[in-house]
C-alpha cells in the first residue's frame, strides 16, 4: 500500500464558523482499494470535513489532492467530476421516477430536439445494475424499492462517473442484517476495483469487520489513524472520547416491585400477533429484534397511536383501554420515540418549552402559562439529567443528539410516569453520550420506574436489560433473563430459529 499514491488526500484543512473552529488543521488520506473509517463523536467535525470535500463548504486553509494533484472543490457537481462521490445517510432520490432516471438524473442521454434516448439510458443502467447484482431493473419505479435497494440505486449513481473515492455516510442506519451483507459485498467490490472508500459510522462492529484503517477526529482535530487489524474497540473509543465506554453485561440486582404493565395476547393486524409480556417496577425490559419485527409498533399501540385488533393491556393490575396518546399520558405511560427529531421534539422551540409540552396545561396561572413553574421544572431536570445547554432559551435543534434525547426523557420523567418506553435510546448519539443514556436508564430502574427499552443494538440490550424479549416477524420468540441470555441464543431467536429447537 505504501508505494501507491493516495486516491484522495486532504491536508491541513481549517474551517471556522463564527465562534467555532469546526476543523482545525485536519489531514486525512485514503489509498486506492482501501476502506478507511472516519470516526468521531457527533460534532467532532466529520460532517464538516465531508462538506469541505463535497464542495459545500469552502475551507479557510488547506488543500485537497486527488491522486496527488491539487484540486479545488467549489460545488457538489465539481466534486463528482473529480471522481469524489457521496452515498448519504438520507437518500436524495425521486420516488416517482424509474431507477434509470434516478441514476442519470441531470445527465439523461439525449437525442435530437432534447428527446430522451430511453434505449441508451436503460442499457447503460442495466449494465451498472448488473455489476451490483441486484434484483430489480432499470425500469422499476424507485418508490417500489426497499430502503436497502434505494441505497443500491444511490450507489449505482456513484458508479456512473468511475469514482476515485466513495464516501459512505452511516450507510447501515436503516438496513437489516441481510441487507448489510449485500452492502458490504458492494463495498468490497469497489475496493477490488481500486476505489478508495471512506466509511463513516458509529457502529464499531461494522468498522472492525470491513475497514483497513480508522482515523479519528475529536473537537475538530485529527487524533490519529490506527490500523484496524492492530487495534480494538477500546483504543478507538479512547481516541474518540478520551475515556472508555462500558458495555459490559448488566449484572446489577436490586429490589423489584409489582408488575406495572402487563400485555396479554396483543395483536395489531399483520404488524404483530399474540404478544404477551409484563414489566415490573424497578425493571428494564429489553426488546430486541430486527428492523420490522414489530417492536416499535407494539410500543405505539401501548401509547395509543395504533388501535390493537385484539388483546388486553393491564396497568397496575387493572385493564385499561388506550385510544390516543392523551389516554396513555394520563395513565402514566410515556414513549420516547425512535426518531427523536421527527417524532420527539419540536426543533424550532426552546429547551424548556419542549420539556414541558405535555403538561403545560397544568402549569397555568389564570389564563396564562406560568413562566416560573416551567423554568423550575426545566432547571430541576436539567440538573438531574445533566443536560448541557447554555440556557433554557436555546433552541432544541441546536443541541447535540445526546442532550436532545435527555430533553425527551426529561419531558416524561417530570410527569412521573408509571411506565417509560424508550425506543432506540441511543440512535445517532455519539459514544460518550451513549453510556450516559445507558446509565440513566439503569438509574431510573433503580429508582423504581418500569422501563421498556427497544433496541437494534445487541450490546446495548445486553447492557441495560434485566430481561430481554426477542422478537421475529411480529411474534415474541423467546424471553430471556439477563443471567441465561447468550449472544448466540439471542441471534437465533431474532432470526426465527426458536430457542427450544436449538436447545
Amino acid at each position: 500500500m505504501t508505494d501507491q499514491i493516495p486516491a484522495l488526500r486532504l491536508e491541513g484543512i481549517v474551517k471556522t464558523f463564527p465562534g467555532v473552529r469546526a476543523l482545525d488543521n485536519v489531514s486525512f488520506e485514503v489509498m486506492p482499494g482501501e476502506v478507511h473509517a472516519l470516526m468521531g463523536e457527533n460534532g467532532a467535525g466529520k460532517s464538516t470535513l465531508m462538506k469541505v470535500l463535497g464542495g459545500i463548504h469552502d475551507p479557510d486553509e488547506g488543500q485537497i489532492y486527488i491522486a496527488e494533484k491539487p484540486v479545488v472543490m467549489t460545488s457538489p457537481m465539481q466534486a463528482k467530476a473529480n471522481g469524489v462521490v457521496f452515498i448519504h445517510q438520507e437518500l436524495s432520490l425521486a420516488d416517482e421516477l424509474s431507477v434509470a432516471e434516478n441514476i442519470f438524473l441531470g445527465e439523461l442521454p439525449r437525442r435530437s430536439f432534447g428527446r430522451v434516448d430511453w434505449q441508451t439510458l436503460y442499457d447503460a443502467t442495466d449494465a451498472i445494475l448488473k455489476t451490483l447484482n441486484v434484483g430489480f431493473n432499470a425500469r422499476t419505479r424507485l418508490g417500489d424499492l426497499s430502503i436497502a435497494n434505494q441505497q443500491m440505486v444511490e450507489i449505482a449513481r456513484a458508479l456512473t462517473v468511475d469514482p476515485r473515492a466513495v464516501i459512505f455516510d452511516e450507510p447501515t442506519a436503516s438496513l437489516t442484517d441481510a441487507e448489510k451483507v449485500v452492502l458490504f459485498k458492494v463495498i468490497a467490490d469497489l475496493q477490488s476495483r481500486g476505489v478508495g472508500v471512506i466509511y463513516i459510522s458509529h457502529r464499531m462492529e461494522e468498522i472492525f469487520k470491513i475497514t483497513d484503517r480508522i482515523s479519528v477526529l475529536r473537537d475538530g482535530q485529527y487524533r490519529g489513524t490506527l490500523n484496524t487489524a492492530e487495534t480494538n474497540e477500546e483504543e478507538v473509543t479512547h481516541l474518540m472520547i478520551g475515556r472508555k465506554l462500558d458495555l459490559s453485561r448488566n449484572e446489577s440486582h436490586h429490589e423489584m416491585g409489582d408488575v406495572a404493565l402487563e400485555v396479554r395476547n396483543l395483536s395489531c393486524g399483520e404488524l404483530f400477533e399474540d404478544v404477551s409480556f409484563s414489566v415490573r417496577r424497578g425493571e428494564v425490559l429489553g426488546f430486541y429484534g430486527l428492523v420490522g419485527a414489530g417492536r416499535t409498533e407494539i410500543a405505539e399501540t401501548i401509547f395509543g397511536l395504533r388501535d390493537p385488533s385484539s388483546g388486553q393491556i393491564f396497568l397496575n393490575g387493572e385493564e385499561v383501554r388506550i385510544h390516543s396518546p392523551q389516554d396513555a399520558i394520563r395513565r402514566g405511560i410515556s414513549l420516547v420515540p425512535e426518531d427523536r427529531k421527527a417524532q420527539g421534539l419540536v426543533l424550532g422551540m426552546n429547551c424548556r418549552d419542549n420539556m414541558t409540552l405535555p403538561q403545560v396545561d397544568d402549569m397555568t396561572a389564570g389564563p396564562f402559562v406560568s413562566d416560573g413553574a416551567e423554568v423550575a421544572i426545566f432547571d430541576q431536570y436539567r440538573d438531574k439529567l445533566d443536560i448541557r445547554t447554555p440556557g433554557w432559551r436555546q433552541l432544541v435543534g441546536n443541541l447535540s443528539g445526546g442532550n436532545q434525547q435527555k430533553i425527551v426523557i426529561g419531558k416524561w420523567l417530570s410527569m412521573h410516569p408509571e411506565v417509560l418506553i424508550v425506543d432506540e435510546p441511543t440512535r445517532g448519539i455519539d459514544v460518550g453520550s451513549k453510556s450516559e443514556i445507558h446509565n440513566l436508564i439503569r438509574e431510573l430502574a433503580a429508582q423504581g420506574y418500569a422501563v421498556i427499552v427497544i433496541s437494534s443494538e445487541m450490546p446495548e440490550v445486553l447492557h441495560v436489560s434485566d430481561r430481554i424479549v426477542a422478537m421475529f416477524s411480529g411474534k415474541v420468540m423467546r424471553e430471556f433473563t439477563s443471567e441465561e441470555v447468550t449472544e448466540d441464543s439471542l441471534i437465533q431467536a431474532i432470526s426465527g430459529i426458536s430457542g427450544d429447537k436449538v436447545a
Binding site: T48, V360, L395
Partner: protein
Amino acid sequence: MNSQFRVNLIKQGGIWAFIVVELIFFSVAGELLAVTDKAFMDFDNMLLLLKQSAPIGIIALGMTIIMINGNIDLSVGAIFALSAIVLLDSMTWPFMAALGDWAIPLAWGFALLTGVVLGAVNGFIVWKTGVDAFIVTLGSMLGFRGLVFMYNGEQPTSHLNWTLVDFAEAQFLGLHTATWFLLVAGLLLWLLMTRTVHGRNAYAIGNNREAAVNAGIRVGPHFLWNFMLIGFLAALSAVVFYSESGSVNPNDGMLYELWAITAVVLGGTKLTGGYGSIVSTLGGVIAIQLLRKGLGHIGADTQTVNLVIGLILITVLFLDRQLNRKGKEELKT
C-alpha cells in the same frame, strides 16, 4: 447564541425598519411629486391609515395563527362578505326593526355567529377528513361566495342605521373605532399566542405535528378552534367595516384572503408553520397600507400599487430566505 439572537432581531425588527423607510421615502418623494400639498406624515393622515388597515388587519391577525399552525384559510373573504350581509340584512327583519337600537348588538351577534359557524365548518372538515386546509378552504371559499350570491343575487344588500354609523365614525383618544378594534384584537391575540397553552400548542403543531401528537396534544380540535377564531375575526372585520358603510356588494371581500396572507408573510410568518408573530403581522398590515397610501400620494394608480406590492413581497421573501440560510449555516458547526 449571540448570532442567533441577532438574526432574530433582524427578522422581527425588519418589518418596522421597512415601515420607517417607507415613511421617509414617501415624505421626501411627496415633497417633490405629491398631487396635493398636504404633507404625507400628516397626523390625521396617519390616523386614517390605521383605520383603513383595520378590515384586512383584523383578518390577518387570525391568518397569522392559522399559518403558525401550518394551515391556511382562503375562505375569509367570503366569510367577510356573508357576515356583512347577515349584519345588514338582519337589521331589516321585522322583529329586529321593532327593537330599535337594541337591534344593533343583536345584529352584531348574528354576524359574528355566522363567521364562527362558517369557520367551524372549515375546521371540522380539516379535522375529520385530514384534507389539506388549502384545498378545504379553496372549496369553502367558492361555496361561501355562492351563498353570498344566493342571498340577494347580484344586488347589493343595504341598511343604514345612523346610530351605528355614529359609533363607527367615533374617535376615542384620537383613534377611530375600527383602529381600536384592530389594536384590542391584536393585544388579545398576542397574549393568546405568547402567554397561553393554546398559543404554545399552535407553535408546536406547526413546527412538528408528529411530536405534538406524541406529546398528547389533540391536533384536530386545536385546528377547529383556530378556524372558528379566524371565522370570528373575519366577521368582526365585516362588523367594523359595514357598520359604517351600510351597503355590501356580493363581490366585497374578494382577494381579502390574499391581502391578509401578504401582510402575514411580510411580517415574517412562515408558510410552512411553526414560526411567526402577531406583532409582526400588524407591522405587515401597516406596511401594505402605507405603500398603498404613499403611492397614491405621489400619484400612482391602483395597478401600479399592486405591481409594486407584488415586487416588494417577493423581494422581502428573498431577503428572508438569505437571512434564514445564513442563520442555518452559522448553526451547523
